[in-house]
């Protein structure tokens, strides 16, 4: 056995430094200018944590140890690097979900390793005596870590499948699902109790894992595609709590701090998303709301006259406007229209028109989804505004160009108490001189709610693919 190269107290301090660097990494994101430095802090923190751990390995004098570490880091690094380089920005929501699933599974495996070799983690009642059993406190921490980790894993896999279209976004409602879930939860509590009393029995450990995996699936399947921003944030939070659970088992400060940071970060994002939809967290979790991207054409409400416009009409009005506000939504992401949109903004600016973008908190499939896509298309971030900052400006705008958004512009949320989305904060596009509404068809949005905006006098419907329509408008302006 090789002696540790650095004393235990120094190790604890190094882990603390890496935890503080992680805090600074998040802190950097308060502004785009400081964000890149923040990310660098994060990388340094991770490097410190890894190198510190490498000096502490008990089998540090064995070749096998180093071969395995080089292999694991190498394989993971190549895969991760390749994914990071090649992934299109429109696929960010599913990538984040996939990454969450890996954190969850890693937590399960680390806990499994601790069950099979508790002495190596220093969690035995009597060090060096495997018959003494694992400390009760460690077992509680481990069971929480593994249960949350397993739920995060399968939950994220389901979220990934829904987001990437491998699985329908429609909610899957099982009969008696609340009874099933309550039963699983009770089983989980009993198993954890038995596991702790047993002193770390491996069969009970796997039973906890299997029940939690199942639980993760059942929690996410009833949640519809449009509630995905909440789900992704929630799984983000779970992955943090799982990491913290393992951090307690290992007595590792870096892991505990990180788990707490990530856990509260995801929880805050979930809260912001729920507030953006005026729904309670509970109602999202209970699920059943919202299905596919759009229902069949003509799906809701009686037939009322709408004013249809062509790209030429739109170009003419936009060109002669003073101020145009663009409102992107998930449809823009689906049609990959962000680059065409940027060209439109350029053409309008060339003609002396002021252009701004308005983003609703729940536009897209994850927090900040629209901002990333606009940034990818080289839209300067100081032209992009959040709901509360821009809502008062619509009345001074001549044109609001709504592209791929629907429910987040629905006036019924403000004036129709019978509407299911009543009370949800919306972008007041109808206050603009003309509303140009780009949509593939006259179907209702995810909530299956008719949008009275379509039938207003100052609304012009531009039916067609978001990208094609925007490109045609650009052509007509030139």
């Amino acid at each position: 056995m090789s002696e540790p190269m650095i004393p235990t107290d120094l190790v604890a301090i190094l882990y603390l430094i890496s935890g503080v660097l992680f805090i600074l990494a998040l802190r950097g994101l308060s502004h785009p200018e400081t964000s890149r430095r923040g990310n660098l802090y994060g990388m340094i923190g991770m490097a410190i944590a890894i190198v510190t751990t490498l000096t502490q390995l008990k089998g540090g004098d064995q070749l096998l140890t180093w071969v395995l570490i080089a292999l694991g880091l190498g394989i993971g690094g190549v895969i991760g690097g390749k994914i990071a380089r090649d992934i299109p920005m429109t696929s960010m929501p599913e990538l984040v979900a996939a990454f969450h699933s890996l954190v969850g599974l890693a937590a399960v495996f680390v806990a499994a390793a601790a069950v099979y070799a508790p002495d190596a983690f220093g969690i035995l009642q009597v060090a060096g005596d495997p018959n003494s059993g694992i400390k009760a406190a460690s077992l509680v921490e481990m069971s929480l870590g593994v249960a949350i980790g397993a739920i995060t894993f399968t939950g994220s896999v389901i979220a990934f499948s829904k987001l990437s279209g491998r699985m329908s976004g429609a909610p899957i409602i099982l009969p008696l699902r609340h009874v099933i879930n309550a039963g699983l939860f009770a089983a989980l509590v009993v198993l954890i109790y038995m596991f702790v009393v047993s002193g770390g029995d491996d069969k009970l450990f796997w039973a906890i894992t299997v029940i939690s995996l199942l639980f993760g699936v059942l929690i996410i399947v009833p949640i519809g595609g449009a509630d995905m921003p909440v789900v992704v944030s929630m799984l983000n939070s779970y992955s943090g709590w799982a990491a913290a659970g393992i951090g307690f088992t290992l007595g590792n400060i870096a892991l505990i701090i990180t788990g707490a940071l990530v856990g509260s970060s995801g929880a805050i994002l979930s809260y912001i998303m729920c507030r953006g939809m005026n729904r309670s967290f509970i109602s999202v979790i209970l699920g059943g709301f919202g299905g596919e991207v759009a229902g069949p054409a003509g799906g809701g409400g009686e037939q009322r006259p709408v004013k249809l416009g062509s790209a030429e009409d739109a170009a003419y009005i936009m060109k002669n406007a003073q101020k145009v506000i663009i409102v992107p939504g998930y449809g823009m992401a689906v049609a990959q229209a962000q680059h065409a949109l940027r060209e439109l903004a350029d053409a309008l600016k060339e003609a002396g028109v002021e252009v701004k973008y308005a983003i609703h908190p729940v536009a897209g499939r994850m927090p900040g989804h629209m901002n990333v896509l606009l940034a990818e298309a080289n839209v300067p971030y100081d032209e992009v505004f959040e709901l509360e900052d821009i809502n008062s400006e619509f009345q001074q705008a001549d044109v609001a160009y709504v592209i791929g958004a629907n429910d987040v512009t629905n006036p019924a949320a403000e004036d129709d108490p019978s509407s299911p989305i009543y009370g949800m904060p919306v972008l007041q596009v109808w206050k603009a001189g003309t509303v140009m509404f780009n949509k593939r068809s006259l179907a209702s949005g995810y909530a299956g709610i008719d949008n009275p905006l379509f039938y207003r006098d100052n609304t012009m419907m531009l039916l067609g693919d978001a990208k094609k329509m925007t490109e045609e408008i650009v052509k007509a302006i030139d």
């Binding site: 923040g38 490498l54 890996l102 390793a113 990491a243 990180t258 971030y381």
Partner: protein, 137 residues
């Protein structure tokens, strides 16, 4: 739009105070607290609770435009679970469950590595795209 001086000061003070606290909790054992025997996990809980508060304030200060990079970077940092994986891979003996632990450690290490490299790189790729308006000519 931003009040960098005040909020930056408040946040760095908060981080510093937290660091001092966590240091005393992690590096000074129970003896420091009036001689009573306080279990290590109590100190860990203290760090955990404080870190939740730090996280709360830091995350609320994140601009909504950067919420997607926030998710990808939290993803990357939560892969610090790799420390557990490394300890398992580096187990001394493969007897008495040591082999199983090594294998699980290796699997966890590979997954966490995908996340570490993928998470930080995709975050920096995203952050590189956020640009300011060019000054008007």
């Amino acid at each position: 739009m931003h009040k960098p001086t005040i909020s930056a000061l408040r946040n760095s003070t908060l981080t510093l105070a937290f660091a001092v606290f966590a240091l005393s909790a992690s590096a000074l054992p129970a003896a420091a607290a009036g001689g009573g025997d306080v279990a290590p996990w109590v100190y860990q809980i203290m760090v955990f609770v404080m870190a939740i508060f730090v996280g709360y304030y830091v995350v609320w200060s994140v601009t909504p435009a950067l919420h997607t990079p926030l998710m990808s970077v939290t993803n990357a940092v939560s892969s610090v679970i790799v420390v557990g994986a490394l300890l398992a891979v580096g187990i001394e003996s493969i007897a008495n469950g040591g082999l199983a632990a090594k294998i699980f450690g290796f699997l966890a290490l590979t997954m966490a590595s995908v996340n570490i490299f993928g998470g930080f790189l995709v975050t920096s790729r995203m952050l590189a795209m956020y640009k300011k308006k060019e000054p008007k000519r």
